[in-house]
C-alpha cells in the first residue's frame, strides 16, 4: 500500500527543486565571498563578534574545507535546510485535516499509522534532491575557485546530515498531529528549529551553560569534524536517528488516537 507515498512524493518534488535552487544560489554568493574570506581569515575571525563565531562554529576559515563546513554548512544546512524540513513535515498532517482531504484518505482501507509513515517516507524526495543538488554545487563551486574538496568527506558530511534533518522532520510531524492550525504548526516548527540552533551556538560559549546544548540536535552534527578533521561521529548520528524514531512513534500514536 504505497499510494499515499507515491502521491506525496510527487507533491514534494516541486518545492524540493525550488529549495535546492535557492540554496544553490545562496551557496554561489557565499562561494564568491570565499577568496576574500581566505585572505583575511584571521582578520575576519577577529573582527566577528565572538557570539557569531560561536553560533556558526567557525573553524579553519582560511581553508575551503573550513569555510564550507563552518560557514556554508552551518547556515545553509543546519539552519535553512533544517527549518525547511521541519516546516514541510509540520504541514503534512494538519493541512490535510484542515482541508478535509484526510476524510477522503481515511475512507480508504488504510490505517492512520500507515498514513503518517507514508507521508514522512515521502520526504525522501527533498532529502535526495537537496543533497544531490548541493553536492554538485559544492563540487562545482570549489573547482571554480581552483580548490578541491574531498568527495568522500563531502559525501559523508551530507550522509551524516540526514539524521539531523530527520530530527527536524520529527519535530515537524509531532507538531502536525497536535496543532489544529496549519500556520501555527509550521511557524512553531520553524521557530523551534531556529531556537534550537541558537541555543546550541550560544550555550557553546559559556562552559556553565554548555550542557543545555546537549538537548539540541545540531550539537550531534558537526560539519567541521567531518570536513576539517575527517572524524565521522556515527554515535551522534545514531542518537539523532533514535530521537527521530521516538518523535515519529509519538506522532503515530497521537494521530491514531485523536479525532480529526
Amino acid at each position: 500500500m504505497t499510494a499515499i507515498l507515491r502521491n506525496e512524493s510527487g507533491k514534494l518534488l516541486h518545492s524540493s527543486v525550488l529549495l535546492t535552487g535557492m540554496l544553490a544560489l545562496l551557496s554561489a554568493f557565499m562561494f564568491a565571498a570565499y577568496p576574500g574570506f581566505a585572505e583575511e581569515a584571521e582578520f575576519v575571525e577577529e573582527a566577528f563578534p565572538p557570539v557569531l563565531i560561536g553560533l556558526f562554529g567557525f573553524e579553519a576559515l582560511h581553508t575551503i574545507e573550513g569555510f564550507v563546513a563552518s560557514y556554508l554548512f552551518s547556515l545553509i544546512w543546519i539552519l535553512f535546510a533544517g527549518m525547511f524540513f521541519a516546516y514541510v513535515s509540520a504541514g503534512l498532517i494538519v493541512e490535510d485535516v484542515r482541508t478535509r482531504k484526510m476524510d477522503l484518505i481515511l475512507s480508504n482501507p488504510v490505517s492512520r499509522e500507515s498514513v503518517v509513515l507514508q507521508k514522512v517516507a515521502a520526504l525522501w524526495v527533498p532529502l535526495v534532491v537537496v543533497n544531490a543538488g548541493l553536492l554538485v554545487v559544492l563540487l562545482v563551486g570549489a573547482s571554480v575557485l581552483g580548490e578541491s574538496l574531498d568527495p568522500v568527506d563531502l559525501g559523508m558530511v551530507l550522509l551524516l546530515s540526514v539524521p539531523y534533518l530527520l530530527v527536524c522532520v520529527g519535530i515537524g510531524i509531532v507538531l502536525s498531529v497536535t496543532v489544529d492550525r496549519v500556520e501555527t504548526a509550521q511557524a512553531s516548527a520553524l521557530g523551534l528549529v531556529f531556537i534550537l540552533w541558537l541555543v546550541d551556538g550560544l550555550s557553546d560559549m559559556d562552559p556553565d551553560f554548555e550542557w543545555i546544548g546537549t538537548f539540541t540536535p545540531s550539537r550531534y552534527f558537526t560539519p567541521t569534524d567531518v570536513l576539517v578533521h575527517q572524524e565521522y561521529a556515527y554515535g551522534d548520528a545514531g542518537i539523532l536517528l533514535a530521537v527521530f524514531l521516538v518523535l515519529l512513534g509519538l506522532a503515530v500514536v497521537i494521530f491514531a488516537r485523536r479525532d480529526i
Binding site: A3, D103, L106, P109
Partner: protein, 312 residues
Amino acid sequence: MAPIEIEDLTKRYGDLAANDAVVFDVERGEIFGYLGPNGAGKTTTIRLLLGLIKPTAGTATVLGADIRDRRALTGVKTNIGYLPDTLGFEERLTGTQVLDHFARMRGDERRAELLDLFRPPLEKPVETYSSGNKRMLGIVQAFMHDPDLVIMDEPTSGLDPLKQDRLHQFLEAERDAGTTIFLSSHVLSEVQRVCDRVGIIRAGKLIALENIDDLLTQSGKNVWVHLEEPVENARFLTDDMIDVEVTGATIQFTYTGDVKTLLAHLVQFEIVDADIGDPQLDDIFKHYYGDEGETDATNEDATREDTTAEVE
C-alpha cells in the same frame, strides 16, 4: 447483520451533544435518508461511522466492524464508498490522476461505466472544477470500487437539477442491485423522491424513524376544494381538518381522517373543483421542527403543534 447498526451513539463536545444516544439500523439494499437541517448532527454521525471521530458513548457497527475497533473498521473500508460534504481532493491533480490515486487504494472496476453517467472534465486539474464537477468526481470515486455500502453526505449539493435526477435514478438502480445507500440531506424533496426510509435528526437527537410512505400517510392528505359559493365554516369543517385556510369559496386543509369519510362529507356541497394529494415532506418536516425556536407561539405555530400531536 444490517450494514449499519447504531446503538446509543453519542458524541459530546463539552456541553454540546452533537449526537445524543442515536439509535437506528440501515438495512441491506435500502436507501436510507438521514434528514435534518444544517448543524443537526448528520455529518457527526457519518464521521463517527467512518471512524474519523470517536464516540463519547455508545457505538455502531459498519459492515460488521465495530467503529471503536480501528483495525476492523479499516479492513471493511474496501467495501465502503464515501462521498463527503466537503470534497477534499488533491486540487493540483487532474480528475484522472485523482481517480488513479484512489484506485490504487481500493480498485476501480466500475470506473468507465460511471464516467459514462457522470462526466467531470477528467483531463483538467481539480482546482479548475465547478462545484458540480467536483461532486461528480466525488460520486465516481465513491462507487468505482463497487462497494456494498455507500455513505453520502449531501450528495446533490452543487449539482444542477438534470444531474440530480441522473443521480437519483442511478441510486435507485444501485439499490435494486443490492447496494446499501445511506445519504444525509437537508433537501426534503430529494429524500422524498429517492429514499425508502428516513431518520430525522434534530439537535443531535433522532426524532423520527419511518418508512417514507408511512410518514406521508400518517400526516394526512392535502386537500383543496373550490365550492360554488362560500359556506359557513361551522357547517363545512370537521375535527379531522387541520391547517385550514378559507379564502372566499376556496378551502384548503390537511385531512387526518379516512379519505372515504372525507368524500362522503364533500358530496353534500356544491363543488366546482377539488384536489386531494400527499403532503410534501416539507410540511411534515415543519411539524418536527416548527415548535422549536419559535416558542412565542403565533396562531400558525399553535396549529402546527396540534398537527405534530396528530402525526406523533
